[in-house]
């Protein structure tokens, strides 16, 4: 059977399980006795192993198998969770991720055996398990009751008894029996969350065929291959050897919940055919109660092959566990959609909005008397397109969680590597951003966090000297602000030593000693964002190679965002990353400078003021406006945009006050044209990207207007 069609599912699921594992292992380190977490880890590891096995990735399967063993021991309280163990587990996760990456790239797991890691696992396992050698013996015994419980419902689970046999099939059974083979009926239950049912069934058949011959399939083998069955299938097999071995092999196929079997004879089958109808009526009733059981059994009895019937005791004891396993998160009702299809949808919505805008400009441009209903309809259209746009945008939004949830693990690793104690606090993981932005924000954020861990936080001695808590704090906060999403990354470490930066800049010849004297704090900090400007005294693995903040900055700017730093020496620093919520369509204020039209994103506008020229004051030879207690620098757009100079200066200036974080600036424009929904179009690759213009848009009348990125003007 070709499994390549399942590769996508496999990759998706692997990364889900990996993330789950990573989260749980982190949780386990904090609370080593939490049984729920351990069970969750066990399930995730088991699924991983199973999936790898199904897809034929033997090395990956091997590694996950050994990990699973480790969890098994932990679950049975045979070994204690220690931080060395967590380290090993994380190393394993990294190795598995390596496999997954290989598979993603080449559909092949690669050739790395990770034998060292496996040895380490086993050494750990043996070392620990040996110390409490009597415990393992108990474990199987404890699980026995669970088997028993399952057994009580087994007669109903033996669906093979209900297979309706045709004459040909009965003959086949008879022939096999005559040949001296034992005939068994077998029903296999597949885990209900299993996605590759047909593949599982196929593996079961393959395993069984090693022992004997499959005489009858139910449903038919074709239906099974086409996945036309629920979560169980039955068969009659003819074998020479022991049925236990067969069942065990079948059970070892991953995501198989259980295998029930029983010996049958040709005569029984004949009898059964007769009795079937009567039996069917009777069986209806007792069926109800045990129907939940097969699922519940997963967590408690997965490892054991079906044992011989044992007294049905202490079922209540197991029920608690059983319920937990059954209460799996309900899968949300979602559809996976190719991002390209969404892009296409988005483009069409954009076209629609452009078309709508031209209708709007038509209706307002004419005599104004044109029929009232026409206006009404246009307004209606406007409402629809706006909400359509919002819906499409929402579809593209994903929480940043998928990116930031790998950070706790990273900080933990860094903490060990650097020998500093630190804790990461995150908030706002549910904040949503456009998919394309989320995909690309991971690296810059990671870099900032590493920066905080490596450069930001002081050594333990220094922290003690400064009276700070021993454990350093690193935080990541995300929240929405207007049309932007803000992500703050900071620490309570040393902060940026501007004097050192300054001397470094002078040393590098970036700035002269004289000029450096007049630099503001902000200008000095900006040096850090220059290419190849590393402040680390020693180059470490983590940072300090000079490819750093400049890359962060350019990555974020490529996404239409920007990054700012605030820092207090001795108290810590904070990087604020600002990202646009949407990339495609925004509400904008249209303004005119001379006869050229420009769009300013509404989200960044605070107020619009009419200011007499006389109110403009000068501070350090720069124009400022004193407005309601704030001193706002004035930017003359015509100068910034190289517009033709005006012959006579107007008495009253129209000033658009824009904000960026807690700073403001006043942009002087000639004329306001009103608010409009605009579609952002890129200027393409040819035009040298000057940062003040973030794109262009097409107005209702077909004219092109440029979009101003006011964030670049501060």
């Amino acid at each position: 059977m070709d499994v390549s069609q399942y590769l996508d599912v496999f990759i998706d699921e692997t990364s889900e399980h990996m993330q789950n594992l990573s989260d749980c292992i982190m949780a386990l380190e904090n609370d080593p006795d939490d049984k729920d977490t351990i069970n969750e880890i066990f399930r995730a590891a088991h699924s991983l192993k199973g999936m790898a096995g199904t897809m034929g990735f033997k090395r990956m399967q091997h590694l996950t198998h050994d990990m699973e063993d480790m969890f098994q021991e932990v679950r049975n309280d045979n070994i204690k969770v220690t931080s060395e163990m967590i380290d090993i587990l994380f190393e394993c996760l990294d190795a598995i991720e390596g496999y997954a990456d290989n598979i993603k790239a080449s559909s092949d797991e690669g050739t790395e055996d990770n034998q060292v890691l496996i040895d380490k696992l086993n050494a750990f396992l043996n070392g620990e398990a040996g110390a409490s050698s009597d415990a393992p013996a108990e474990a199987p015994a404890e699980e026995a009751p669970a088997e028993a419980e399952a057994d009580s419902s087994e007669s109903d689970d033996m669906k093979f008894k209900k297979i309706e046999l045709g004459d040909a099939e009965r003959d086949a059974i008879k022939a096999a029996e005559d040949a001296g083979k034992s005939i068994y009926g077998m029903t296999v239950y597949i885990n209900e969350s299993c996605l590759l049912k047909a593949a599982r069934a196929f593996l079961v058949f393959k395993a069984v065929e090693d022992f004997g011959e499959i005489l009858v399939y139910s449903p038919s083998s074709q239906d099974i291959e086409d996945e036309k069955f629920d979560f169980d299938f039955s068969m009659y097999i003819a074998i020479d050897g022991s049925i236990e071995d067969v069942a065990k092999e079948a059970k070892d196929v991953s995501e198989i919940e259980k295998v029930v079997y029983g010996q049958v004879t040709y005569n029984e089958l004949l009898m059964q055919a007769v009795e079937e109808e009567e039996a069917a009526a009777k069986e209806e009733e007792p069926k109800e109660t045990p129907s939940e059981e097969p699922k519940a059994e997963v967590a408690v009895a997965k490892e054991e092959p079906k044992a011989a019937p044992a007294p049905a005791a202490s079922a209540s004891n197991n029920n608690a566990n059983a319920k937990k396993a059954a209460a799996k998160p309900v899968t949300s009702r979602t559809v996976r959609v190719d991002i390209e299809k969404l892009d296409a949808l988005m483009n069409q919505v954009s076209e629609l909005i452009i078309a709508k805008n031209s209708l709007v400009s038509l209706s307002s441009g004419e005599d104004g008397q044109s029929s009232q209903t026409f206006h009404d309809q246009i307004e209606y259209l406007e409402r629809i397109t706006t909400s359509l746009h919002e819906s499409v945008m929402k579809v593209r939004m994903v929480p940043i969680e998928s990116v930031v949830n790998k950070f706790p693990r990273m900080i933990r690793d860094l903490s060990r590597q650097l020998g500093k104690k630190m804790e990461l606090y995150m908030s706002g993981e549910e904040t949503e951003l456009d998919r394309t932005v989320v995909d690309q924000i991971g690296d810059p954020l990671q870099h900032l966090l590493r920066n905080s861990a490596d450069h930001g936080l002081e050594s333990a001695e220094l922290r003690a000297e400064r009276g700070k808590p021993e454990v350093g704090t690193i935080y990541l906060n995300a929240y929405q602000e207007g049309n932007n999403v803000i992500i703050e990354v900071g620490d309570d470490g040393n902060g940026i030593d501007t004097e050192r930066v300054k001397s470094k800049a002078i040393e590098r010849g970036i700035v002269s000693a004289d000029a450096a004297e007049n630099l503001s704090q902000k200008e000095i900090i900006d040096f850090l964002f220059m290419p190849s400007f590393s402040m680390a005294k020693q180059i470490t693995d983590i940072s300090g190679r000079g490819v750093g903040l400049d890359v962060v900055k350019s990555n974020i700017e490529a996404l239409g965002g920007d990054v700012e730093v605030k820092s207090t020496l001795g108290e810590g620093s904070k990087f604020t990353v600002r990202l646009p919520l949407t990339l495609a369509i925004i509400q904008a204020l249209m303004v005119e400078v001379r006869d050229e039209k420009f769009a300013i994103a509404l989200g960044s506008i605070m107020t619009i003021e009419s200011v007499p020229q006389s109110d403009i004051k000068y501070v350090q030879a720069k124009e400022v406006l004193h407005l309601r207690g704030m001193v706002i620098p004035i930017i003359r757009l015509d100068e910034v945009l190289d517009s033709e100079p005006l012959e006579d200066k107007p008495e009253i200036l129209t000033v658009v006050i824009v904000k960026k974080g807690d700073r403001c600036a006043g942009l002087v424009v000639d004329n306001l044209m009103g608010q409009q929904e605009i579609v952002i179009k890129s200027l393409g690759h040819y035009i040298n990207n000057n940062k003040i213009i973030s794109g262009a848009t097409i107005l209702g009348d077909g004219e092109v207007a440029l979009i101003l990125d006011t964030n670049q003007m501060f």
């Binding site: 040819y686 040298n688 000057n690 097409i698 004219e703 092109v704 207007a705």
Partner: protein, 154 residues
């Protein structure tokens, strides 16, 4: 491009070029790179870009940058007349328009009608990759990647 019907019968190995006037000279542009030829329309200036970019235009809902080949070659500024056209090229990095004084005709040239070694006037030496001979007339064949490439920014 009504003229294209008349040359459907040309031999396979001949390449078609659109002949345009820029100043006194005739230039040929490989037809396979041409998406469209549009009349002069309003070009929206973009501040602070390379000087040879005239700005951007709206080509049926798409934003297309337009460059002046004259500025690039160091010739005097474009004068827009009735015959001025913008040739829209479709290249790997996207669409780009170039302003020409006039579009004359389509010619088909085979490789032996093209002189790859000849030098043209100094100004455009870097931008042509051959001279085509169409009867008595000489046509400088534009090396589009050279014309455009230098303007691609990382």
């Amino acid at each position: 491009m009504a003229s294209s019907t008349s040359i459907d019968f040309t031999e396979k190995e001949k390449k078609q070029y659109i002949v345009v006037n820029i100043g006194e000279e005739q230039y040929g542009i490989d037809i396979s790179f041409i998406d469209n030829i549009v009349k002069m329309c309003k070009i929206t200036r973009v501040p602070k870009v390379q000087d040879y970019f005239k700005g951007i235009i709206n080509l049926r809902g798409e934003i297309v940058p337009v460059m002046s080949i004259r500025t690039k070659m160091g010739l005097e500024n474009d004068e827009y007349t009735k015959t001025t056209r913008i040739i829209i090229l479709k290249l790997e990095a996207g669409m780009i328009g170039i302003v020409v004084d006039a579009v004359k005709e389509v010619v088909a040239l085979s490789e032996d009608e093209i002189d790859r070694t000849a030098q043209s006037s100094k100004a455009n030496a870097n931008f042509i990759n051959g001279i085509g001979k169409n009867g008595e007339e000489l046509i400088s064949l534009l090396d589009l990647s050279a014309v455009v490439d230098a303007s691609i920014v990382a």
